[in-house]
Structures are given as C-alpha cells and as structure tokens.
C-alpha cells in the first residue's frame, strides 16, 4: 500500500535547536532587508518569465531588453550613468509576478520595469505599480479596456490589429462568413466581442459568425478543424480570425494543413502568431495564411535591417528571428530613455508626465508617438506566411493608427477615453464628463 510510512511522528523538539533556527531565520530576514545602496547606475527591471509555460515567448523579450541596455551603455548610458538590468524570473506564476514586481521596486529600487506578456500577469502587477508608483512598459498586443497612469502600452490595442485585419479580409478577399476561434481567456474574449460588434455593424448576420473557445495548450484540433471546414461549406467565402494562444497554434496549423484547408479556400488570420511561433512549424502547408502585426521581420527598412543585424550579432545566432513584441520593447525603451533625458531625472512621476508626446522611430520606417492614453501610434501590416517562415506584407495601413484604450465598438466603453495629460484620468466618460472609478 502506498500510504505506509517509515516516519516517526513529531518527536519533541529541542529548545536550543529551535532557538538557533529562529536566530538563523531572523538573520536571513535581516540580510535580505539591507538594500544595497549603489547610486552610480540606473536600474532597469526585467520582469519576464524564464521558466514555465510562458518562457517560450518571454525569454526573447528579456534578451531584447538586455540587448537594448547593452547598446545604450555603449552610447554612454543615460544621464551620464550606466544602465543596469535587474532580471527576475516570475516563472509563469501570476502571484509571483506581483511578488517579483514588489521586490524589483522596493528592494532593487529600479527606475522602470519592462515586462509581462499575458493579460493576467499585467493585472496581477497593476496594483503593485499603482501602490509603489513606478513605471511598467507592456509590450504585447492586448485586449484594451485599460489605461493606467503607471503603465505604458507599447503593444497593439484591438483597433491597431484586429479591426484592420478584418477590414482587409472583407475588402480584398470578399469574406462573408467568419469563424472567430480563440483560446478562452480575456484577450480573445474581448477581441472577439469587439469583432462581433464590428462585423454586425458591417451587415454580417449572426448565423455567419461562429465563435469557438478552446482551453490553453489545446492539442487535439480534429473536431474543431472539421467544424470550421463544415462552416466554410455554406457557399460563402469564409475566413478564420484566430486569437489562439501561442502553444496551441502548432497543432492547430498542423491539423489545418493535414486536413487540406488551404489559405486559398479558408484563410486564417492570426493575431498571436509571429516569427517566433512559426519557427516551430513546417510552414509550407501554411502558405498564404495571414497574420496582422505592427511589425514583421521581413519589412525592408534600413532601421529594421540595422536592428536585425545588431540583434543577431548580440545573440551570436545568425538565424535568430525578431518579432512584434520585440519591436514594442525597442520603441518603449527608446521612449523611456528620451523622457528621462528630457526631464533629467528617473523619478517616476516626472517621467510619467514627460512620456506622452515623446516620439520614437519604429523599425518600419515611421515614427511612433506616445499618446495621452499611454498607448502609441503604430502602423498595421497584414502579412502572408511564406514557405521560409517569414511573412510577406500584402497590405498596410496608409498611416499610423493611434491606439484606443477603450474600444469604440463596445457599449460599456464607447464613451470612455484615457487622458493622462489634461484630464489626469484613465477612464474618463466623455458623456457625463466624469472620471470613473478609482483611476483618478
């Protein structure tokens, strides 16, 4: 039987031993209490998972920040001081994100934090950043519906990714029928809700929209792919809008390829599939499936080529790919450096006030600007997957699209705006002229 034990039961303890243990404990406490006071560097926190399920995406972002800090230090640092990265591993564990954020700010006294990937990790650290008044740069496309004073969103809001992609499919591919497939978490839920409202406003009937949610890491896609195939055989041009999360994509695309769904029949446009994800798939059967991003590695631009070269040299890997969240970190980092230099201080309050309006070159030939709602302006590109795992840009927005913190398509948020310059409020109701909730 399994439950038999060889243990003794709680035998009495010695007083001396315990006293010693307590003393040790106290000493340990004290030793992590004494913060080191080194003032000749500016500390930059890096809060990305290096282990656990999210390591697959986030490790690259940690490397990106280390690379950017390295480059900046070669240029002489900021305000005459060297930058120093403080790397922690929140291990894809959401409460640990909050704990590590607290540690970075209180113990390591960082001036700014670059980090998080999933929405839940951002939500988990939000109260910490608000309480301890520090700055977080969040580099991933997300569901919007948020504008916080201490957070700067350098990834795409839904209006900078989802809606242009749907527009493209409607105009260029004449798609009439839509499958909205996603992993069951808040980003796909919100994006799909926004898209559903948007499609209906464009005259798409309810029966022409199919919504499907799957759990994280879903690996058996047979039934769902067959359903998509069935849904697509109603005589109208059908497309899949995929907000399927990273890990589940490989088996999804493999099943698509094997069941013979070609991009010419039912194109799939994905919002979470970039160069990194494709690196794990044989892309030949996926030729022509789409992705919408604000950056592609294949974009021909001198800035981009310079960046890729330097990045591959830094990582000593000539095949290392770049992707959209990396570009977001590049822009965010640049903006932070510029804001710090503008106010000649790393004091979070001053930097937060200085950031809106700061401009930084993005890697696709434009200049992104930090908006009062703490989102940035970005171009939107639609790329088709090529056989070599890269994307071929088939469409782009004529100019830069400003990020909306609050979606105009949802009833709950269409009157809300974020404005940290004039209104000093992240969720300001323009109808009632009131700042809602605690965001004042």
């Amino acid at each position: 039987m399994l439950t038999k034990s060889t243990h003794d039961i709680a035998a009495p303890f010695s007083r001396r031993g315990l006293l010693a243990a307590t003393a040790g404990l106290m000493l340990g406490l004290a030793s992590i209490t004494g913060a080191k006071a080194v003032d000749d560097t500016i500390k930059v926190g890096v809060l990305h998972s290096l282990s656990g399920t999210m390591a697959i995406s986030e490790t690259t972002l940690k490397d990106t920040i280390l690379f950017l800090i390295d480059e900046q230090n070669k240029k002489g640092g900021v305000l005459g001081k060297k930058l120093e990265a403080v790397v922690v591993d929140p291990a894809s564990n959401w409460p640990l994100f909050a704990e590590k954020a607290r540690e970075l700010i209180t113990k390591d006294k960082v001036s700014v934090v670059f980090g998080c990937w999933t929405s839940v990790s951002r939500k988990s650290v939000l109260p910490v950043f608000k309480e301890l008044n520090n700055i977080l740069f969040y580099p991933v496309q997300y569901e919007g519906e948020e504008s916080e004073r201490n957070v700067f969103y350098t990834g795409a809001a839904p209006n900078q990714q989802a809606i242009p992609a749907v527009d493209y499919l409607m105009k260029d591919e004449k798609v009439k029928r839509w499958v909205l497939a996603g992993t069951d978490y808040v980003y796909p839920r919100t994006t799909n809700k926004i898209l559903e409202a948007y499609l209906k406003s464009k005259g798409v009937a309810q029966e022409d929209i199919m919504i499907n949610y799957t759990p994280f890491g879903h690996s058996d896609w047979q039934t769902i792919v067959a359903d998509i195939k069935k849904f697509g055989s109603a005589g109208k041009k059908t497309a899949v809008v995929s907000t399927i999360n990273g890990d589940a994509n490989v088996p999804f695309y493999k099943e698509l390829g094997n069941q013979g769904i070609k991009a010419t029949d039912i194109p799939v446009v994905a919002f979470s599939v970039g160069e990194e994800e494709l690196a794990g798939i044989d892309t030949k059967p996926l030729l022509g499936h789409l992705a919408a991003w604000n950056y592609f590695q294949s974009i021909k631009d001198p800035e981009n080529e310079k960046f890729i070269k330097a990045w591959q040299a830094y990582t000593k890997n000539p095949k290392r790919v770049t992707n959209d969240p990396m570009e977001a970190h590049v822009i965010g980092f640049d903006m932070w450096v510029k804001a710090v230099e503008k106010v000649k201080s790393t004091d979070p309050d001053k930097v937060i006030d200085a950031l809106p309006g700061i401009e930084a070159k993005n890697l696709t030939g434009g200049t992104s600007k930090m908006l009062p709602n703490h989102h940035i302006t970005k171009p939107v590109f639609i790329g088709e997957i090529k056989a070599n795992g890269q994307f071929d840009v088939v469409w782009k927005t004529p100019g830069l699209v400003p990020g909306d913190a609050w979606s105009k398509e949802l009833d709950g948020s269409k009157d809300l705006i974020g404005d940290w310059v004039e209104k000093k409020c992240g969720n300001y109701n323009t109808k009632t002229n009131k700042c809602l909730g605690s965001g004042s």
Binding site: M1, L2, T3, T6, L50, S51, T53, A55, I56, T59, T60, D172, E173, D184, Y213, T214, P215, G217, H218, S219, D220, Q222, T223, I224, A226, D227, K229, K230, G232, S233, A234, G235, K236, D247, V250, P251, K254, E255, G257, N258, Q259, G260, A263, T264, D265, P267, E276, E277, A279, G280, I281, D282, P285, G288, L290, E384, A387, D392, V394
Partner: protein
Amino acid sequence: MLANLPARLRTLALSLFLIAFALPAAAGPFEDAVAKFANDDFSDTDAAIGVVASSGNPLAYPIISALKDGRLMADADSKKVYVTGTDGKSVDAATGEAVASVPASASAVRLNNRLRRSVDAALGGLTLLSPDVGTRIQAAQSVFKSHEESALPVVDNALAKETNRSAKTALSEARAAILLYKPDASEVDKLEAVATIKGRGDQEAMALLTGIGSDQPASVKAGAASAIASIQSSLAVWSGVQNAWYGLSLGSVLLLAAIGLAITFGVMGVINMAHGEMVMIGAYTTFVVQEVIRTRYPGLFDYSLLIAVPLAFLVAGAIGVLIERSIIRFLYGRPLETLLATWGLSLVLQQAVRTMFGPTNREVGNPSWMSGAFELGQITITYNRLWILVFTLAVFAILLAMLRYTALGLEMRAVTQNRRMAASMGIATSRVDALTFGLGSGIAGIAGVALSQIDNVSPNLGQSYIIDSFMVVVFGGVGNLWGTLVGAFTLGIANKFLEPVAGAVLGKIAILVLIILFIQKRPRGLFALKGRAVEA
C-alpha cells in the same frame, strides 16, 4: 499539381500544349500583360494572369506554373520578366528566348490568396488536357471550385476526349458547377447540374448548392434545396463515423503517452512524474535526428522517423536506466517519495532541455508519407493520425509479446509478482528493475517521436500529457496493459463524442468527473488485479 510531376512527364505535357496551342501569338496584348507582372501590384498581376491564361500562347502554362511556384522573376526597372525553370535555366517570359542569367535586381513576383486562386483557376483550365490522369482530375477539381464560365469550352472539349472514369466524373461535375452558375444556361441544364452535384454529396457540393443566387428559376432552387437536405442527412451519419475516428485517434495518442507509464507505474508501482519528460526527450531526439538529416543527408528526410524511433528508445531508455540506478532504486517501497523525487527530476530535465535547446518550439517536419489526408466516404482521414494509430497498436503488441514470450519479460513479471521469490530463484532483481524502468522510459521516448508529429516540440511538451496519462492508467486499472488499452480508447472516444455537444472544455471536465465517479464504482479501475498483490 504539375509542379510535383517528374520532369519527363512535365516536358511531355509542355510539348502537348505546344501542339494544342500552336497558333501564332498576337504580339501586343500578351507581351503587355507579361510586362505587368513587373509592376509589383496585385491587381496588375491579377489582370496579367487573366490575359496570359486565355491568350493561347504556348508560354502561358510555363509562366503561370512558374508564378505559382515563385519561379517567375520580374525586374521592376527594365520591366522584363523571366521564367526560371526547375532546372535553373531561364527564359524571357515575353518571347520565350533563353537568357544566360536573370539580373540580380529581379525578384519573384509576389502573390496573395486572391491571386493564388486566380492562378489555380488558370492552371485548372490549362491542365485539363494533361496526359496524366491525376493532373486532369485535379484540374477538374479546381475548375469545379472556381466554376468560371470561360472554362466551359475547354471542359466540354476535355469531356469529349476523356476516357478515364473518375476523370470523367470530375469533369462532368466541373461542367455542372459552371452551368449552375452560368446566368444564361437553360433550366434543364441547371436541373441536370443540380442532380450531378448532388451525386457528389460532399461538403463542397453543398457549398456550391447553397451558394446559388436568388435569381435562379424556382424549380432549380427547389431542386437545390432538396439536394442540400439529402446531402445533409447523409453527412450527419458520416459525422458519427467521423467522431468515432477522431476518438480512436485521440485514444491512440493517450495510449501512446500512457503505455510507458503503465509499465513504470502499473507494473513496477513507481509513480514517475518525470514520465512526460521522457516523452519530451523522445521528441527532441526526433528534432536532432531531423536536424542532422537536413544538414547532411537531405535525401533521407522521409526516413527520419524510422531512424528516430530506435534512437529515441535508446536515449530515453538509457536516461531511464540512469534515473533508476541513481535515484529510484533507493526509493523502492516508498512510492510517494518516488513521486516527489521524480517531480524534482522533471523540473531539472525540463530546465536542462530549455537551456540546451532554448525555450521556443523546435520544428519537427512531417515526412511526406505522414502529410496530407485521404477521403474515406465523407470523412477526411489524415495520414499522420492514421500512422500514429497503427504505430501505437504495433508498439502495444510488441510490448505485450515481449512481456509474455521473452526471458526478460518473464523475469519482469516474476519480480513484480513476488520479488523475494524471484530473487531466491536466482533472478538478479536489481538488474530487472533497471531494465523494466528503462523499457518504460524507452517507450515514452518512442511516444515522443510520434507526438512530435502532431504537437509542439517544446520543453513543456511532457507536462501536457502527464495528467492524462495517469488518468488513463488508473481508469484502466493499474498493472494491466489491456486495461490501459481499453481505458485510453474509451476516454478518447467518449471525449470526442462529448466535444461537439459540450465544447472542448466542458467535455474534458465531464470526462474528469466521470473518471472520479467511475473510480467510486470500481476503486481499482476497469480491469482490477485480484489476489494478494492488491494489498501489498
């Protein structure tokens, strides 16, 4: 498609076209159209495809097929367009004259999905008369899909010459599709078309029938509606068959992941939480094998899995023996401690792989015989799933035979049934322990080879299977391989029949609740061991 044909056949096809379309080409429009390819503008390219395909020019086929394969090179400055053959030789697309080399500034003409459809439709029209039956059928299929009116004369022409039965069916279906959508076709033709398409009876037929506009004659609409209803009812029956197949396939994956555990856990009683990591190691072995093959012996790629299977068995098995010798053998009789130690081990192995191979997914390709699918009635059976099912059953049979007929198997059974007695009979129990654990791990490694074909190859691969594997073994009954087999397929099929009703997540929750309740009914699983061994 033609691009995949052997070169000789292709030349044959080409020369045939040269005969079929040996009319003097009108110099103006064709050359203008070809020049448009150099504009790098999707609508210009689309227009050019239309003109070139219907030009009757012998160069049309080479140009369009080169466009499809990304071999059509255009120079934006000189507006010159070149066709690079698969043999590396190039010709000027407008004149057909051979050129020494394509200028460096030229790049492949880009396509998007809309253009790819145009290209497919154009190629369909151009290859309807191909000497190869497969190509003809495929061409007819793409005409069926695009059902463009312009293709009708060619289809009629091809239909008249066609002798092969299935090609003939495909062609008449293509013809029916065109007629159904042709505004000025007669009502009789259309009704006949509806009947032909109904005979096809698959989802595409249904798509075609549902998509007809409202301006059709009433009789056609009624005919289409009844055809749709009949196709639907036959598809409903097929969807049951399809669910059963999906269930078998899922069951085979579960079985494959659990079968190694059935040995280490079921036979030896070791709760091996690092089992999933053995699966992962097998998958990474496949990756390494493919990587070596890609760089050194690209010709062997189709055999990569065959090479990977024994290697994965050896690598994972060796690691298993190592683990047994260094950790587990000190923990026999304390199964819960093994649980903790192997859990720690799984963390170490995961992180080790993450450090060695990086945290991102690694690409493991499908060999050609594992790609694609075939139709069986109205269901699609993908080759990779089919092969995994076959492979799983083979592994199971070999394992069973090994345990029953080999000396090692006999010793293993003896040791698990009565260790002391076995030892007294002169069996080196510790050696048998190590080998049994190695065997279980090796089989997990083999499972990794198969799973690399359908799932991510990442450090997290194993974790996603460990819970399911334990469920299968416990559900089937610990210590009974047949129980594991029946358990895996039962869970797989139940899951797939629940999924369409309840959705993927609720279906899985329902399965878990059912397992919990089932264990109440039969506390020792489906096939419980009886006798004294149970309480030991």
